[in-house]
Amino acid sequence: MTTAPPPTVSAPASPAEQVYFGHPEKKVTLYFLVTGLLMLLIGVAIGPLQALNYANIDVYQYLPFLKSYYQGLSLHGVLNALVFTTYFISGLLLYLPCRALGVRPNLVVAWAAYWTMTIGVLMAAWAVLGNNATLLYTFYPPLQGSPLFYIGAALLVVGSLIIAVQVIVIWTGWKRQHPGETTPLVAYMSVATWMMWVIASLGLVVEVVVFLIPWSLGWTKGVDPLLARTLFWYTGHAIVYFWVLPAYISWYALLPRQAGGVIASDSMARLSFVLFLLLSTPVGLHHQYSDTGLSIGWKTVQMLLTFLVVVPSMLTAFSVGASLELAAQARGGGGYFGWTRRLPWKDPVFTAQVLAMISFIPGGAGGIVNASLALDTAVHNTAWIPGHFHITVGTATTLTFFAISFWLLPHLTRKPLASVKMALWSAWLWFWGMIIFAVGMHWEGLIGIPRRTYFAGATGLSEMISRAQVPLALTGISGMVLAVAAVLYFTVIFRTLLGRTRVSAQAEVPIPFSQSLAEVEALAGNGGSPKIAGAVRVLERLWVFFALALALVLVMYLPTFISLLLNPHPVPGLRLW
């Protein structure tokens, strides 16, 4: 197959650059996505070792390049949860809103963000690989790692904030040039997500820049571990919405077209993103129910707000479900459940996302347990918690990102997906692997098995292990299933990226921006609803909701931070690994 040069303009000299011609931002997007996936590859490769640990099979003793189970776990958590997600989201939520608005981003700024992140990640990786930051991905002081780790983590966040500011600036410029127009849905959701991240990342930035970096360099003698934990979880809970909202964008605004239908409700989609902007951050104290030294009053108030985040998630479930039913009806489906058979299950882009959503149902339900003061004591710091986040960020987010990579990488490179069948298999195996994993881990948690424990040397677990044989075996087995899923997934991805064939510009995979049902009806002459249009006009003022979100965070956190800062209890750092 030959590449057709774009008509009327002269083609650039290099054939590789031809692919990005017209949209040079494709290249930086591709770099963000592929770097993120490479980080995931390393992080995921360590996963099965963690799973085998639960099955009481110690592989670490045979690995010369990893000093301990905890070093492996630090790499696994940092690379998968922090690095992979940040790269992938920065690429995705730069590219999609710019294309939706028809604006080209400033490429110098975008590349600066990419290199800031990459230098940061290399610094942090150097520290972790040298066993100088075996802190796990929560890096609670007084455990003290190499300054390189903290500086690297800060640069990773700074890189993402550069993209955040760039997208918000592009959107405000677009608003000025298009007065009275409604922001396209994908751009609207992306801007809301970035605004949320700007507020949410403040905790981590302050923790690392103000406290941990000077302390790790020896400039300050101590850090207050309770203050550091509170700053960490201020960001640490909101970050899960930073991970999951890009998946929601795909489910709400791209999946309907991929399924052959339309968006059931555009205005409700906007409402749920405004609710996420308001409610994602002022809820972090629910990770600290077991911390004495924090007021029970604020814990209770933040519990209510955490429960309220259930509302936009329920809206998403409804709306996306309705979109899928509409798509199935358009394909001739009907009945209460019979319509599900008419959906394009042979398409890995579709199937991976639906499996991701299904995993998010038990994931969200488990989250309500964690958020409840009454029930959290039974599961806090047990295997239940990693069980929970492997079916939320590990499946809902990750499997959706797999789906996105199945169409977006071919879109960006014009190289067709190497194997549809293998892509489908990887999605199903990832889904079932994670479900088996989650069943095992939740079950172990209820027995009382702690998370983050090197089983081979554990002294206090034998009685609990004897009661947890079945779930521990499930965790071990799930690691093997996931290893196969990962091999298949990365085979498809690398075969696609390294493929030689490129399709013509005309045959490029389109960006599946979906139409809304209201738009389709308006085009058919049924008219739009003035009431709904009014709601969309109110929701359009994202700056107002940004200000409200900031105010709500101040109310929910300022008293706690003031009392922590007025009674500082700094302690020196220790290296205990």
Partner: protein, 163 residues
């Protein structure tokens, strides 16, 4: 096929269902806090002692102490990589107040009995008053990563039936 007005009406209904469900869950947790169906949810009052000067506090000699008035207190210090004491014997059917403090880095402990799960931040004292009804031996383990010996940090609670 449904038009978008109908779908949005259903979805508003669903929104109301979600809000009501959330409020009911919140009310349920508040009720269990007030009635103490789940013990100790109001937590222990915040108290801080300097972790480098435990020798000047009641944690100087960790272990079980019975006061002249009959009240039973137990003092435990968590430090890398052991609990002091790491075996605690308490009488059954007697209110016991457990006090935990971490001396160096963050540790954690969950007891299989009595709904105790504490994040032990250095110097922040965690206090729980519980009456252990069933006699037996309950082994648990530090549940917050504290370094390379984290997995060797176990704690045994022995509840003894009255003789």
């Amino acid at each position: 096929m449904l038009d978008h007005h109908t779908i949005e009406r259903y979805e508003l209904g669903w929104l109301v269902v979600a809000v009501v469900m959330v409020l009911l869950m919140f009310a349920g947790v508040i009720a269990s806090m007030i009635t103490e169906t789940v013990p100790g949810m109001f937590g222990s009052p915040a108290r801080y002692i300097n972790p480098t000067q435990l020798s000047k506090t009641e944690f100087a000699a960790p272990g079980l102490k019975v006061s002249p008035d009959g009240s039973v207190n137990a003092y435990m210090v968590a430090r890398a990589f052991q609990f002091q004491p790491n075996v605690l014997r308490v009488p059954a059917n007697t209110p016991v107040t457990l006090h935990f403090v971490a001396a160096d880095v963050i540790h954690g402990l969950m007891l299989g009995q009595g709904n105790v799960n504490a994040e032990l931040v250095p110097g922040q004292v965690a206090t729980f008053t519980r009456t252990f009804k069933s006699a037996g031996t309950f082994v648990s383990q530090c549940n917050e990563y504290c370094g390379s010996g984290h997995q060797t940090m176990s704690f045994t609670l022995i509840v003894e039936a009255p003789k």
